[in-house]
Symmetry: C2
Subunit: 329 residues, 2 copies
Amino acid sequence: MSRPTIAGVASAAGVSVASVSRVLNGLPATAEMVERVQRAVEDLGYVPDSRARSLKVGRTFQLTLAVADVGNPVYVTMMRAVEEVVSAAGYRLVVTTTGPEVVDEVALVRGMARGYADGLVISPLRVDDDLIKSIRECDVPVVVAGNVPAKAGVDTVRANSPKGVALAVEHLLAKGRDRIAFVNGPVDTVPGAARAKGFADATKHYNLKAAGAIEAADFTFAAGRAAGKQLFKKSRPSAVICANDLLAVGVMHELAAYGLQVPAEVAVIGMDDSELAEQSFPPLTSVNLGSAERGRRAAELLLARIEDDTRTPRRIVVQPTLSVRRSTP
Amino acid sequence: MSRPTIAGVASAAGVSVASVSRVLNGLPATAEMVERVQRAVEDLGYVPDSRARSLKVGRTFQLTLAVADVGNPVYVTMMRAVEEVVSAAGYRLVVTTTGPEVVDEVALVRGMARGYADGLVISPLRVDDDLIKSIRECDVPVVVAGNVPAKAGVDTVRANSPKGVALAVEHLLAKGRDRIAFVNGPVDTVPGAARAKGFADATKHYNLKAAGAIEAADFTFAAGRAAGKQLFKKSRPSAVICANDLLAVGVMHELAAYGLQVPAEVAVIGMDDSELAEQSFPPLTSVNLGSAERGRRAAELLLARIEDDTRTPRRIVVQPTLSVRRSTP
DNA sequence: GTCTGCGCTGTAAACGATTACAAGAACGAT
DNA sequence: ATCGTTCTTGTAATCGTTTACAGCGCAGAC
C-alpha cells in the first residue's frame, strides 16, 4: 500500500481535506476537529508530501550550501556555522559540491531555478562573468561567500586575505624571520588571486627579500607537498606562508623530508585556521580568515534576502586574526 | 516578473503544453515543433520546475547521504565515493548532517517520507529499535552504511572492525610491541561497540597483556587528546590502537606533550585510513576499513533497490587492509 | 422572533508539470 | 475515391497540497 494522502486522512477522520490541512498547519479549529484529525494522522502514519506542499506554497524550506571541495577542512567550519543559523530559522540545510570548474558552478546556480531550494550560499573557487550573470539572474536568492566585484551587485561576505597575509608577515618579521617564501594555490581562483595580491602588497610594504614563491596546482595536501619539494630544491627560506592549511601541512611534510625543523629552522604559517591547523604537528600557526563568522553572516544575509528581495546588496568583509601555534617561533 | 511556466512557453511557441513537455523530454516530434519549442524556451529562459515535475512523476532524482559529523574525515572519503556512483546514474547527491543522537537519525529517516529524495544512505552512529523500525517503514529505500542486526532486514554495507583491530594487533606484535593500549570511542555507538569487541577478541586470541583501555567521549580530536592524557597518566604502553584517525591524532599530540617519540617509544595505529592519516605527522599507520568501497557499494545497493524494491535485503561486508605508515616501526 | 455578525467547515480552484486519450493529418494501398 | 494505418498534436485529468470563497450554525442585540 502506498502512503496515505491528505484525502485519506480526511475520509478516515470524516472531515474535509481543508480541515485536515488547517489542523496540520495550526490554523483555528475546534478541539474536537483537532482531536479527530490528529487521531487519523496517527492511525494512518500520515506524513505530508513536501513536494506537493512546496509546489503550492512556492517554498521548499530548504537552503543549499555549495562548496568546491568537501576535503578542504575550511568548509566544515563554514558548514557548521551556516547550519546553525539556517536551522534556527526553520530551514533544512543541504550541502552539495561543485567541481573546481566555473562551469560546474554556473550549472549549479542555473539549476537552482528548478526550485530545489529557497536560497543558496555558494563559495566559488573561480568566478567569471557567466557565473555573476547566472547569480544575478537566479530566481532564488544567492549569497556568495567569497570575493566578487562590487559592481556585480550581489550579496557577498568575504575575507580580507591581503590583511591576513600581512598579519602573517608581521608575525614572522617580529620573530626575526625575514626570508619568507609563499606557497599559493592557483592564482586563477578567487582566493588564490586575493592571497597573491596580499603577498605582493606585503613584499612591497615591508620590503621583503625574495625567498621563493610557488603556485601549487590546487589547494590540496598533495599539491602542498609538490610545491614544497619544488620550493626547497632551490631556496632556503626561514619561513613559509601558505595559502591554506592543507598546503601548509603538505609543505611541513616536505620540510620533514628535507630534515628541516619546524619552527626552529623554518617557520610555517597556514591560512583558514581550520581544524586541521590544530590537529597538525606541530600545531599550525594559521591566519583565521573568519570562516565561521563568514558562514554565519552569509546565512544571515541569505535569510534577510529571502525575507525582502528588494534590499540593496550588501558586501560584508570580515577581518582576519592570527592564531599563533607552535609552527612559528 | 516571475519565472515562465510551461504554459508560457506553449503560448509563446503557439503550441500546446503537451508538445512542449514532449519536446523537453525528447519524445518524438517534428523538426519544426522542436525548433519552435526550443526557440521559445531559449527566449523566455524557461527552466522546468523540479517540484512540479517530481510531484507528478513521483521521483525527485535526488539522493541523500546522511552523516553524523562533517568534521570526521572518514566521511569525505565515503562522500566522494557515493557522489561518484550516484551522479553517474543521473542523480543529484545532497548531504545532510544528523546529530550524534539517535533521535536525530530517526527524525531524519521519518522525514524522508516527505519525499525530499528518492533514497537515503545513512551512516548512523547509534542504532536502536526505533531507528530500525523507521528504516523498515520508510517509504523510500534506505541503505545503512554501518552495522545493524541481520534480522533488521535492511540493506547494509559494513566494515569488519574486529578483523581490522586484529590486523593492527598482528602488525604491532610482529614489530615486537606487545603492551598494546586501546583508545576507543563511545561503546554505545555502533563503531565503538564493534571495535571494543575486536579488541576483546584480539586480547583473548593473542593473549595480550593489559596495557590500558580508554573510552573517549566521542570520536573527535579533542576526545583523543583527553583520552591520551588519561591513558599516559597511569600506563606506558609500547603501542596504542585508536578507534579512528581523529582519536589517533589526538593521542599522538598527547604523546608529544609527554615527550614520547612516535614510533620509537610508542607506536600508534588509527582506523579509517582517512586523508588525515596521510596528513598527520608522522603519517599514521591506519586500518583501512574500506570507506570508499563501502560508499560505493552502499550507493550501488541503493540504486539497485530503487530499481527493484522487492529484492531481498543484502548485507555486504568489506574487508579491512592495513595501510602502514610511519607511526609504527 | 428576526437580524447581524462571527467562527468553523467544506467545495473547488489553484500550483506546474506529465501523460492517457482522442482527434486530426498525411499517406499508401486497394 | 475510400479506407485504414501511422504519426503528430491537443485537450484534459492528475499528482498532493494550500487557500479563497461560500455556506452554515449559533450567539447576542434589538
